[in-house]
Symmetry: C2
């Protein structure tokens, strides 16, 4: 059972992420309120009715490898057919390649629903989105025409081939070779691992985007190029032709997302896999980063999605399971467990965290739209910088939080949570990959410090901190305990973020180990405070709109208060861990042989 | 691979838990330093060589049900034979029933090793310990003689039968019936679920301790009696005779601890299962609580154990896996990942948390020994009260922390952590039950507030808070950044605990929902501060002993500093969540239909 929280999605899009403004930008004409709501309703229907029921089945009956072929969970191929027939692969992609050209802000709730319904399934379109993004960025017009419409139509799917056994987080260590051929193509040789949906039988072809080195390429990350290597070579008429020399030699046995085949791909064991260069030689990592930014944002959305789904499941159980009398003596009989304060605490925390993470991610999506569509170049650059600042936070924070939220989901179920048939444990297992793939939380945090904080001298984050200050001023002007509480805790969080940024800026050069030992605390702190800021903006909007729907807006204000009092205080604790110069000394004081 | 941390165990036993004093109490004569170290060495050998290698096998090849019988993982029955042959079941049990009569403080590291090596396996002896405890508490001398030596000898194992489908946390809802027979026995009828090691083929008999109601028993928890229901009835000569009417109708398919069979037991489908009353009628829950206190403590040790094992595995990987150049530019080549600051942060945090939880648990075990062995009755009562205060914290905090630590263990492994063959994921899955069974964290937290804080007006906890203050004074007198940092953060933690206790005492009657919505934060806060106190005591001891072993004691001081700066600050955040009167309002403000 999955019932998409469309009301909250629309509220966030409209009140926090600026849907109306984005719709008013060039190319946003189609994103009328009616269209957007209709798109969300249709997505909710498809995800709830078709994909959600297949989620548990994918866990029980994962993709299986058989002699180089991968057979997906029964029902997945049909569902994928419906997915592409509905046009869902093209929501955010350009109309000139047969996409729908809607803003990322509108595509984002669709991505959330897809992942909430079925994380394993959703990974296939997620990777295809990444391949489309890379082709649109670096491909020639001919390449775009040849591949993108087929990918949008779901005839073909896409993959990202980065990791090798010795090259995980460290892409400098990539060894796959690409040898130029007289006809302008390349022959690829090497092993790629952890390739999500790297082999399957849901589509007629698979377009692998592969990082490899040409002969004489410089060492390290500056010698990596990006290649298109289709599973079946493309005939002159655009149809799939001969089988290329790329083989799936095994798939992994994983903790979660079991329906999503994670392939080991062997290139060139029979003479070389034929590939074509995309973009310029040795600029592969740069293109891959564009694709990765999109993918990282999407993985952050997976965190929001699985949290939202786990919350729904826990809530349904808490409303149904009868156990124990209430602690306040208000009933002599046992009550449903939602009446017990600790269950209430867990549900409220799950929901507040999920709402905050959703709001921050949608706001980031809105920044991306403005970065692409604002007619003013300087404003585009500002929005792009803000989007890029937010991506590692959306990715890192939403996924770490998903571990916490899905764990609370198990806990609400008590002993039944540990029984696989209940389904709560699947969300817990599935969620665990999110803080790892597409760059672990530490990789996100290094990016946040290095490229996103140090490079601009903290300009982007300081502007955000100033805006948080303005929100605090607005909160102070409001009446009521909830607003006072948020004003107080958000101000403390804002200060904590500010002093942490100052610490990073002052010490990164002088003592990089001390700063980077606090990189994940910094990322979490930023997520907590920026998420809290969105909750504060939400409660201000709800105060304005209260009369329209007192039940909904009352809940938004209560959730913001819950977040202020139970989540925001962690920011100050994280600041203590990060800023105290001694803090990281204690962390790093042990010699390797003392461990 | 499991290499028991005997050095840290002995340090904690001697420097923090008072092994020498306990050995000097009546009945402690056998616990000489030489004997204790020999016992630990032997336990480490057995656990490392026999049990640890079976752990992954138990996950791959779980116990399986076949027509009422349960066949355990290959190798488990032989290992169990070696376990009992080694006398391990009897370590803490009285010599008069053929146990070894060693203090609980000495038994506790053995329990830790057993669980670190193999959590699923260790559950069988853990439950048998519980059954022995219940028999010793409430059984007649004849019952003790008939059952306890066989349980200690491992010929028979024991179980606890509490849960029924409608009676989980709420034992008032138990419905299993016990009908008195003319010969003084009872016939039992009902269904029990979640019975750990409720059926298996490792021993010749299974002694079920079963909660049930006699006819005309009062409703609720005051009408529950405790019965012994052996799988095979006992012949006059003490040997197992006819099969009793208790059947294992299925076992659960679980997230973790898969080798440990979790049985559904059906009593009385063929005329009634024959049982005998233990102790007095209607006092069953009282006896069960004694057994449960021991079991809850042991589950807390499971949390310490699985954390310690996960740390060892992550550490080994971090020392072996080469990836990326160091952030400080100290090497042009890629290094082992232990050189990356965030990996260092994770490993140090895993270790500091595990050491703190171990120290607190061992100190609690020492309190239990003093409660049993101190010649002075008043002192016995004080120690008993302190032990009882600590049990829900050891249980609740160590197990919540195990979720965190095993998750970091997965994270250190990166993508490999998500692959089941690596083994890190098993610890993560296995650990997840610990905060649920033997009373969820909320149940522990309710106990901590209700029976352990309110009932004595906070006397026990306030005495502990005063002692923490004396430790702070000692820290202030020391030189060096580590001690200053601990003095500062421990003092803040002490204040946070104090004000939270005051809040609980002042408001529990007036506003029970507000207080109980903060019960888990209170428990975690208490764990963090009391664990930090032990880390502070450890660093003071290490300062005194530094010359003996600079590497070991230097590491203890560094870990204490790490804990002070990265864990203790959370106490202040938890206080903010708990004490703010508004805090729990925000949490409880939503009406059921707003969720």
């Amino acid at each position: 059972m999955y019932d998409a929280p469309i009301k909250d999605m629309l509220f966030v899009m409209q009140q926090l992420a600026g849907l109306d403004e984005i719709a008013a930008l060039p190319g946003g004409e189609d994103a009328t309120p009616e269209t957007v709501e209709a798109v969300l309703q249709e997505a909710a229907k498809f995800c709830g009715e078709v994909l959600a029921p297949l989620n548990a089945e994918g866990d029980r009956n994962p993709s299986r490898w058989d002699n180089g072929a991968v057979h997906v969970t029964p029902g997945f191929a049909q569902a994928f057919g419906q997915y592409v027939a509905g046009g869902w692969q093209g929501v955010q992609h350009p109309q000139e390649y047969e996409g729908q050209g809607l803003p990322k802000l509108v595509g984002t709730p669709c991505v959330e629903m897809l992942n909430a319904a079925n994380l394993s399934f959703a990974l296939c379109p997620l990777l295809t989105d990444g391949a489309i993004e890379a082709l649109l960025t670096a491909g020639t017009e001919e390449q775009k025409q040849r591949f993108v419409p087929k990918l949008i139509a779901g005839q073909w799917t896409g993959t990202m081939n980065l990791t090798e056994p010795q090259a995980g987080s460290d892409l400098a260590a990539v060894r796959t070779r690409a040898e130029p051929q007289p006809d302008g193509t390349y022959k690829l040789f090497g092993t790629k691992i952890f390739i999500t949906w790297g082999e399957h039988d849901m589509a007629e072809n698979i377009v692998h985007l592969v990082l490899a080195r040409t002969p004489d390429a410089p060492e390290g990350v500056k010698g990596i190029s990006l290649f298109i290597v289709p599973k079946f070579l493309i005939n002159a008429d655009g149809s799939p032709g001969a089988r290329n020399d790329v083989q799936c030699v095994s798939i992994e046995h994983k903790l979660g997302i079991k329906a999503s085949p994670t392939a080991v791909l062997q290139y060139g064991d029979h003479g070389g896999a034929i590939g074509e260069l995309i973009g310029e030689e040795n600029r592969g990592l740069e293109y891959m980063f564009i694709m990765m930014n999109a993918a990282r944002f999407a993985v952050g959305m997976q965190g929001v999605a699985v949290s939202a789904r786990a919350y729904q499941k826990a809530l349904a159980y808490a409303k149904e399971r009868v156990q124990s009398r209430p602690v306040d003596g208000s009933s002599k009989a046992a009550v449903t467990i939602i009446h017990h304060p600790d269950v209430r605490r867990m549900l409220a925390t799950m929901r507040a965290l999920t709402e905050a993470a959703r709001a921050l991610a949608y706001v980031a999506a809105g920044e991306s739209d403005r970065a692409h569509r604002d007619p003013d170049e300087a404003r585009r650059a500002l929005h792009q910088a803000r989007y890029e600042f937010l991506v590692p936070i959306v990715k890192g924070w939403s996924t770490e939080l998903a571990n916490e939220v899905t764990s609370m989901g198990v806990q609400v179920h008590g002993g039944m949570g540990f029984i696989e048939e209940t389904g709560a444990a699947q969300f817990y297992r599935d969620a665990r990959i999110l803080a790892i793939y597409e760059g672990t939380t530490a990789i996100q945090a290094n990016d946040l410090i290095g490229r996103k904080t140090l490079r601009d001298g903290g300009a982007v984050v300081k502007a955000l901190i100033d805006e948080i200050g303005r929100t605090v001023t607005e909160l102070v002007a409001q009446e009521g305990a909830a607003f006072k509480s948020m004003a107080n805790h958000l101000a403390l969080g804002q200060q904590a973020l500010g002093s942490t940024v100052d610490f990073v800026l002052a010490n990164a050069k002088r003592d990089p180990n001390a700063v980077f030992a606090g990189s994940v605390p910094y990322l979490k702190l930023a997520g907590i405070v920026l998420g809290g800021w969105q909750m504060a903006r939400a409660m201000l909007a709800s105060a304005r709109l209260m009369q329209d729907d007192p039940k909904f807006h009352g809940a938004k204000i209560a959730m913001a208060q819950c977040y202020a009092e139970h989540v925001l205080p962690q920011a100050v604790a994280l600041e203590a861990s990060m800023v105290s110069a001694n803090g990281t000394q204690g962390m790093l004081a042990l010699a390797e042989d003392q461990f």
